[in-house]
Symmetry: C2
Subunit: 455 residues, 2 copies
Amino acid sequence: MSHSEEAATLKHVDQIISPEWMIPVSSKGKRNVKALTGLSIAINHNKIVAIEPTPRLFKHYTTDSHTELPNQALLPGFVNCHTHAAMSLFKGLSDDLPLMMWLENHIWPAERKWVDDAFCEDGVTLAIAEMLLSGTTCFNDMYFQPNMTAKVAQKLGVRATIGMLMFDFPSAWGSGWEDYLKKGLSLRDDYKHSELLTFAFAPHAPYTVSDEPLSKIATLSNELSLPVHMHVHETAHEIKESLSQHGKRPLKRLQELELVNPNLIAVHVTQLHRNEIETIASHGVSVVHCPQSNMKLASGISPVQDLLTAEINVALGTDGNASNNDLNMFSEMKTASLLSKVYTGSAQACSAADILYSATMGGAKALGMEKLCGSIEVGKAADLTAIDLNTIQAQPLYDPVSQIVYTAGREQVSHVWVNGRLQVENGHLCRLDNSQLISMAKNWRDKIQHSKANA
Amino acid sequence: MSHSEEAATLKHVDQIISPEWMIPVSSKGKRNVKALTGLSIAINHNKIVAIEPTPRLFKHYTTDSHTELPNQALLPGFVNCHTHAAMSLFKGLSDDLPLMMWLENHIWPAERKWVDDAFCEDGVTLAIAEMLLSGTTCFNDMYFQPNMTAKVAQKLGVRATIGMLMFDFPSAWGSGWEDYLKKGLSLRDDYKHSELLTFAFAPHAPYTVSDEPLSKIATLSNELSLPVHMHVHETAHEIKESLSQHGKRPLKRLQELELVNPNLIAVHVTQLHRNEIETIASHGVSVVHCPQSNMKLASGISPVQDLLTAEINVALGTDGNASNNDLNMFSEMKTASLLSKVYTGSAQACSAADILYSATMGGAKALGMEKLCGSIEVGKAADLTAIDLNTIQAQPLYDPVSQIVYTAGREQVSHVWVNGRLQVENGHLCRLDNSQLISMAKNWRDKIQHSKANA
């Protein structure tokens, strides 16, 4: 075969990326989290079409866009599996307060005063900027005005699961549970052709949604195969209240309402009896661990190593910016691993590989996206994060997986692609203007702080 | 008075710094940690000579070097009160292992094989680069070859307390306790005119140093007014061993050896009875909290809020890079505060102000440097760190103290001065070459990893 014949067999693709290391995080199980070298990845029509040793890949593929990342590890983008994105505008508004004082005297009044479409549009934009800059390509949100969360995520090209929020009580988003349900399903319909957005039922918590709407959600989530995103067993107080009101623990009540099944994404879960771990495991529930929020609000510690041992799917989330106070999956991974070690008394608990799996594939599985994202595999969407390991802080580099979990920071994120589209390049946002974002946040700060001072 | 007469009364100083915010951290007590605006600071001969509202300061002082920091908060540099700096070359060498397997199969063999003057010189250089880039201006070190720690810190112009290391057993640094003592004191003598270096006795731990040398150190530290830097009650195992060998808990033994006094810097202290907290408080001992290391090695949790309530001086340390795996005081502050909250069940525990005080003045006090550094006050050395709060991540900014502890990262450090000398400018090291440091670390990595693979 002549040289020209050989060239003619080359398939043209949108882009090829050649990183120094690749950590594909196979969907085949958590033990398969390691750094490989010498690989390149071909992307076409937003999908990964080939992962091969670089010379072999270039024998089969050609492109006009070849990105070489000689100092970087390429990972699946982080999946932040529990956020209240718009709350970014309340970041640091009040700290170091007991949960109920924080909620009743600060967060709830601020929400009643400020939360509307304009607030949520700006808050979600700021949150997405922060998440992209720290390597997150997909987030699972629950907050008021999900219409704005959907609008901004779609506009900016970020993957998200939009929570169809529900409470018993009215808010800026709905007048009661039937109204919330109607608006949520209608919003889902608006985006039925979106490649980026999926939807989940998001009844806030067992103590804010009563049996009838929860039962309705159980039926609908089963019929529509949609996840149910819910705060569950966040605090001991929640358990106590449920025992007094319902005569049973919240998980038991959810089980009787037929919500305890693989659609359930149970967030926080700091309070668990042994038999409840078995229930969660046998019913295929996913748990979202939010260690920094649980620590900051003194909610408790989720027994993550026990969950992993029971083969429960564990995802990782930052929670909202008001209780963290960042949306940084790097520090969340490190905290999750360290907290698990000291909590169990075993330095082996929740290894770097375990938690990197949770921060990527664990989230994708919880959201029912295990065939779409969460790992770098042929056929999946190109949701990718490149981390620069050629910094002073990352030296010496014995093991990229360990270094990413225990040492790396958000500032080492150099490139981010969502669905094949470049969102961060050399540490800078491609589609958002930094100074405009900062001005916008300052305007909100001035208004909110001024109003608080005069309250 | 004519204009020229007025100008003649202006005092010329080496430099003036005008930040947007200043968080002076008064030495007068932890409640005084807040962000002030509109102030400038005049520095002459390495000392802070004035802190005044900017227009007033410029009525009295003039300079050829005026640094304006319009987006930054200026803080006293962090005091990292427990490090093994040279161990930076073992960062990430082995993780997720039980303490004894980690020590016996990985760290101790690596130390026996690699630790010498050349290793320590390079390791300390890398550690100082990392510490400066993350805003630390003073560190309290304990490791082999303190001669090299002293040499590098002095050469690079960083403040440090050098540990006069002691074990019962021999090492690359000494043949036995008398030899360690002699070498330590002789090293101290070599640097008696240093403005930057101070010395502390550094008996490694109660379980590695026997009564006779400890007693000797008690006498000498009293005579020379030198601190005693020691791992104390790091793990439950240590207590158990001491009970079996000495019939008493380590702190009790140290008390009988007359080491429990204001010179003692007790590191870790995860195991404490109520009466031991009282002993520590009434004897003026300082405690160094190293939350990330204690978590990563599953050592336990120091009851920091109880220590603060008992008015004990609490400092903060990262421990060595092999068990953290960074020397980043930002994440250490956040972890310390969050861990204390979840441990006590109170979201009010260990506030942002409390922990920022520990990370600066708490460290200075522990090291007997409370009149020298740890706060921005007239008469103190100009050890300063400027943190850029005009980033996406730091928005919206309601309270700089909260934002620095809960949200900021090392990458926001823009400027660092030690003893009046600029060490970091716009996030770049002024006196060290980044690529040379990275090459050096890679060479060590290649040697150490290759040898490990062939072991």
